[in-house]
Structure formats: structure tokens, C-alpha cells
């Protein structure tokens, strides 16, 4: 597993909640820090990368695991 600073579990939540919770979490983090976020909502799979690109966070990786979709996001400036 790649190194990360924070984790956020959004399993069981539907759109728009995974993006809302991820945004709130990222707002508390410093630039350059990495969040490991997990969601079970297939809709969020396209939205998280699109949102991250829009607001300037870096999507380090996306992985489809048994637990759900795992995103590693690095906070932008």
C-alpha cells in the first residue's frame, strides 16, 4: 500500500456525499499531504478524478479492490 497521511471511509455513501466528505477532509489537510479515500459508489469513480482535476488536487492512484474503490489523492496548493 502506498504511503498516505490521512484516511477517509465513504463506503455505503451515495453521490454527492463522497465528494462532499472528501472536500471537507482535504480542506483540513496541508498542501502535499496524501489522503486515502475509499468508496463503494460506482458513480463516485468518475466524479472523484473529475473533481480532483477541477480543483487542483493530484490523483495518485485508483484501485478497484474487494473493499471498494480506493483513491489516493494529494492535496494541491
Amino acid at each position: 500500500m502506498t504511503a498516505h497521511d490521512e484516511t477517509l471511509d465513504c463506503k455505503g455513501l451515495q453521490c454527492p456525499m463522497p465528494v462532499i466528505k472528501t472536500k471537507l477532509k482535504m480542506d483540513t489537510m496541508e498542501a502535499g499531504k496524501v489522503l486515502r479515500m475509499i468508496t463503494s459508489d460506482p458513480g463516485s469513480c468518475k466524479d472523484i478524478p473529475a473533481w480532483a482535476e477541477r480543483v487542483g488536487h493530484t490523483l495518485i492512484s485508483t484501485e478497484n479492490t474487494d473493499e471498494g474503490f480506493v483513491f489516493l489523492l494529494q492535496r494541491g496548493d
Binding site: Q14, C15, P16, M17, V19, I20, K23, P42, G43, K46, D47, A50, W51, R54, V55
Partner: protein, 372 residues
């Protein structure tokens, strides 16, 4: 805040009511497919997460004093955006019940004939495709049904009918067929369905099917696929599948044998289709451009004579090699999902309902030539 169904949205747009659709899905889903109609539709894409990230700036670009219709993928995000807008003083805001998925599956019935038999065209706006029903005295034949089998079953029972036969014009590659799911005779051409995993009734060229005195004649018309078939109803209508469109013809390059199938299509057009009466009213499997192909009554239908006139660039070609060149010069990539959809439609792949829905998204890419 109010809610609306996909059919209410269609009817409201068709009647020309003024509104602005805000599609709040992500940009790539929006670009793949969004609400289109015969007339102009005001639609903008503002992803819901823009409202999360920067509410003030995002709300500022939404006009006031117009009815807003919000669409997301499933529903919850459009309710969220509608609530944000309400909180900012907007007054007339609706959201689509069930989200874009409902628009994707919407079928709109247009009755084309009522006595002594009934004929309906079911337009699927999101796919730009058409299926059909012919009924008489409580019996109904369905042609080219899409995935929403429940719709056809309800439609039949509302009209006091039992569905006895389901016909395909060909093995569909661009949408998942509902055909195999009906408890009815599944009538298809062997050249397209011989490898399928389910039982079917093989139709053949020249056969007539009787619907209480109404004759449905089978015309084998290979080219788009080897088993492509047209059905002539009561010598008046012709269901053409992906062989004849109002604009263009069905592309013969989807099977990876463009030269062979183009030659076959040329022979079909010259020897089997062009010889038919020009008075036949053509009922196509698809359309590409609402503005050019929709009739005043909202149906997708034109006489064969009119079609020959309007597609002189195709029907005017009198040399098979020139025809092959024409096809090749208009070729474009086919969506990757088509090979998967063919597997589903022959019973070799059985995805779960959610997967079926996502495989079935997007407008058809079936015409040989597309005008800009």
C-alpha cells in the same frame, strides 16, 4: 422544488416550454450523452461538485427568472444542487426522478396507424433508436425491443393485448435487446443468431406472418449484418432496422469485413430494396439528427421515394466499387462496447442490471455516413 419524470421532461420539451436544463454530471458523462430533442434545448453542464467546491462562483453563473431542470446520474446530486439554488433565492427548480438513467431508458410511444390494426413507434430519445408494435384484436407483434421489457409488457396490457411474437431486424450491437426476455416467439434471422445460446424461431426471406389478416412480409436484406431483415406490414409500412435510414444507410463495417459486407449491402440496395414501391412508409431502427429526420407529428418516418431523393449520394451510386469506396471514406471507429453488447444479445454474457444499464448508455453510431 418539484420533481419530474423523464416522460414529463420529454413532453414539456416537445411542447416548447421554456426552461434551462442543468446537467450536473461530470463532463465526460455529459459529453458522452445528454438530453437532445427535435427542437433547440437549452442545456448546460455544471458538475455538482462545482457547487460543493465554490458555491458562490458557481451559483453566480446560473440565470434567474427561468425554470431550471436539474439532472444528475441517479437523483441525489440533483436534489442537492436544487437545494443549494433554493437557498440562493431561485424559485422554479425541478429535478429528474431517477436521474439520467431514466432518460436513458425512456421510450415515447407515437401511434402511426389505428384502423383496422394499430401501429406504434417507440422512440428512445437517448439512444436515437426506434422499436415498433403492431396489434390487432388482442394480439401484438413487437419489433426490435430495447432493454426496458416491462415497458412493452405494460403497453401491451394497457391496450388489451398479448405479445405473441418478437421480431429482430438484426443482431443489435449498439443497444441491449429485450428480445430474449419476452415469453413469446423470438423470430430472428439465422445468419445473425446461429451462435446464440438460446432457442429462437428462424425467419426466412419471402415468408409471410399473419396477424389476424394483416400480413407481415419478411425481406432478407444483408449488408449491415449478414442476417439483416426488413418487414413489410400490410404492403404499406416497412420496418427497416439498420438497412434504410431517413438520412443515410446502416454502416456495413461493424463486422470487420467492410469490403465483403459493403458489396452485400450494395446488392441488397439494388436488387432487393430499390425495387420496392416508393410509396412504402419507412420505419427505421435509428436516426442521427432530430432536426432532419423527425416529421411534423413527432414520428421518425418518411416515404421510401422521399428517402431515395434525399440520399442521392448513396442511391445514385451505380457501381459496386464506387459504393465500397463511399463506405470506406466515411468509416469511423465503432464504440468498444459494441462487441460486449453483441455477446449479451446472443446470450453469451449475462451482466447484472447495473452493468447492463451502463453498457447501454450513449447515442447509436450506426449510420454509414454522418453529416456535420
Amino acid at each position: 422544488m418539484y420533481s419530474f419524470t423523464a416522460l414529463e421532461l420529454f413532453n414539456s420539451l416537445e411542447s416548447g416550454k421554456n426552461c434551462l436544463i442543468i446537467d450536473v454530471r461530470n463532463q465526460s458523462d455529459f459529453e458522452e450523452s445528454h438530453v437532445e430533442m427535435p427542437g433547440a434545448v437549452e442545456v448546460v453542464n455544471i458538475p455538482y461538485f462545482d457547487f460543493i467546491e465554490d458555491e458562490e462562483t458557481t451559483v453566480a453563473i446560473v440565470p434567474k427568472n427561468i425554470d431550471l431542470k436539474i439532472i444528475c446520474a441517479k437523483e441525489a446530486s440533483s436534489v442537492f444542487v436544487a437545494a443549494v439554488l433554493e437557498g440562493n433565492g431561485y424559485e422554479s427548480i425541478g429535478f429528474l426522478e431517477g436521474g439520467y438513467a431514466m432518460w436513458q431508458d425512456l421510450l415515447v410511444a407515437k401511434q402511426l396507424h389505428s384502423q383496422p390494426y394499430q401501429l406504434w413507434q417507440f422512440i428512445r430519445p437517448a439512444k436515437a433508436s426506434c422499436s415498433y408494435a403492431v396489434a390487432k384484436n388482442g394480439e401484438m407483434f413487437i419489433f426490435d425491443p430495447s432493454r426496458n421489457v416491462e415497458f412493452y409488457q405494460q403497453f401491451a396490457s394497457q391496450n388489451g393485448c398479448e405479445i405473441s411474437h418478437v421480431f429482430e431486424t438484426h443482431l443489435q450491437a449498439d443497444y441491449i435487446s429485450g428480445g430474449p426476455a419476452f415469453e413469446a416467439i423470438y423470430a430472428v434471422h439465422e445468419d445473425d443468431f446461429k451462435d446464440s445460446s438460446f432457442n429462437y424461431h428462424a425467419i426466412s426471406d419471402g415468408e409471410n406472418y399473419d396477424l389476424d389478416g394483416v400480413t407481415i412480409k419478411v425481406i432478407h436484406s444483408p449488408g449491415h449484418t449478414p442476417g439483416s431483415t426488413c418487414y413489410i406490414i400490410d404492403k404499406e409500412w416497412m420496418i427497416t432496422g439498420d438497412t434504410v435510414f431517413i438520412v443515410s444507410i446502416g454502416r456495413p463495417d461493424l463486422g470487420g469485413k467492410v469490403v465483403e459486407w459493403s458489396r452485400q449491402l450494395y446488392a441488397t440496395l439494388k436488387q432487393r430494396i430499390s425495387v420496392l414501391p416508393e410509396s412504402l412508409k419507412v420505419l427505421p431502427g435509428h436516426f442521427s439528427d432530430w432536426s432532419k429526420e423527425v416529421s411534423d407529428d413527432g414520428s421518425i418516418c418518411s416515404t421510401f421515394g422521399q428517402i431515395i431523393q434525399n440520399n442521392e449520394d448513396i442511391y445514385g451510386i451505380n457501381d459496386v466499387e464506387l459504393f465500397v469506396e463511399f463506405i470506406q471514406s466515411h468509416m469511423r471507429a465503432q464504440p468498444e462496447i459494441y462487441s460486449q453488447i453483441r455477446l449479451v444479445n446472443t446470450g453469451h454474457l449475462d451482466p447484472c442490471p447495473d452493468e447492463r444499464q451502463s453498457m447501454d448508455i450513449g447515442k447509436n453510431q450506426c449510420a454509414a455516413s454522418q453529416q456535420p
